[in-house]
């Protein structure tokens, strides 16, 4: 029988205090599921921190503490998917190079780190939602 997908949603505000807490909660939840993902804690924390930092930096009204960033976690058959959506205008992700890591540049690493660490990455059309996928081998 196919297991139903596990879904959970988190809402956080434009402040940074809640970032560590939500990441901790997600990692704890994943640990409880006993998923066999290589280097899971490090990879998911790295990706989540960059995704949420982008959302806070570019997609939040810093004067409004109301929950503005939507984080969705979904676990189905062989895959964890995590999406982060903010209320900003997004960006032209189609024009960004997500492959070439700049060695000496001071900015522009976040999305490349996400792309290189997750198994797959996707955006909505306007670029205010990013979704990453991590594959795992299912354990009975």
């Amino acid at each position: 029988m196919v297991k139903p997908a596990f879904k959970k949603q988190f809402l956080i505000g434009g402040s940074t205090e809640s970032i560590s807490e939500v990441i901790e909660n997600i990692l704890l939840l994943l640990k409880e599921k006993n998923l066999q993902i290589e280097d899971m804690d490090f990879r998911i924390e790295l990706v989540l921190r960059e995704m949420i930092a982008n959302a806070v930096e570019h997609g939040c009204d810093k004067n409004n503490d109301f929950s503005q960033i939507k984080i969705k976690l979904e676990i189905k058959k062989n895959q964890i998917s995590i999406s982060v959506k903010d209320q900003g205008d997004g960006f032209e992700w189609q024009k960004r190079d997500l492959e070439t890591l700049p060695i000496f540049a001071e900015n522009g690493r976040g999305l490349i780190i996400i792309n290189k660490t997750a198994d797959r990455i996707e955006f909505n059309d306007c670029g205010n939602k990013i979704k990453v996928h991590f594959d795992f081998s299912e354990v009975d």
């Binding site: 930092a53 930096e57 000496f104 690493r109 290189k116």
Partner: protein
């Protein structure tokens, strides 16, 4: 009350910039400015950044390290990173910073390298 985030110490005449907090998108700019101010004010020629009290560096934190690296390079000085924790070490590896900046785990050896 906010504690101190960065201070400059001297270890056998070698400058050590000690960072006490996670460096992220929120605080990397003020930490960078403060660090450059301390380096300039003290005429630092070579520098160790002590990361032992830094729980995490995100990509903005990496930007901070690179900014200090270039700042020191422009002054013809050297930069060494000291004692990153496992997580920070992994971030330095993923971003390939470890290929351009030396990382040491013993302060004495880092000081010796710059002496």
């Amino acid at each position: 009350m906010k504690g101190k985030r960065v201070e400059l110490l001297f270890e056998q005449q070698t400058a050590v910039l000690k960072i006490f907090v996670e460096v992220n998108f929120e605080n990397s700019n003020p930490i960078k400015e403060k660090s450059k101010e301390l380096i300039s004010k003290n005429n630092v020629e070579n520098l160790i950044i002590d990361l032992s009290s830094v729980p995490y560096l995100d990509s903005s934190g990496i930007g901070f390290v690179l900014s200090i690296f270039k700042f020191m390079r422009d002054k013809k000085g050297k930069l060494i990173l000291l004692n990153p924790n496992d997580k920070v070490k992994r971030v330095l590896e993923v971003t390939k910073i470890d290929t351009i900046i030396k990382i040491f785990y013993e302060k004495e050896k880092a000081v010796e390298e710059l002496s």
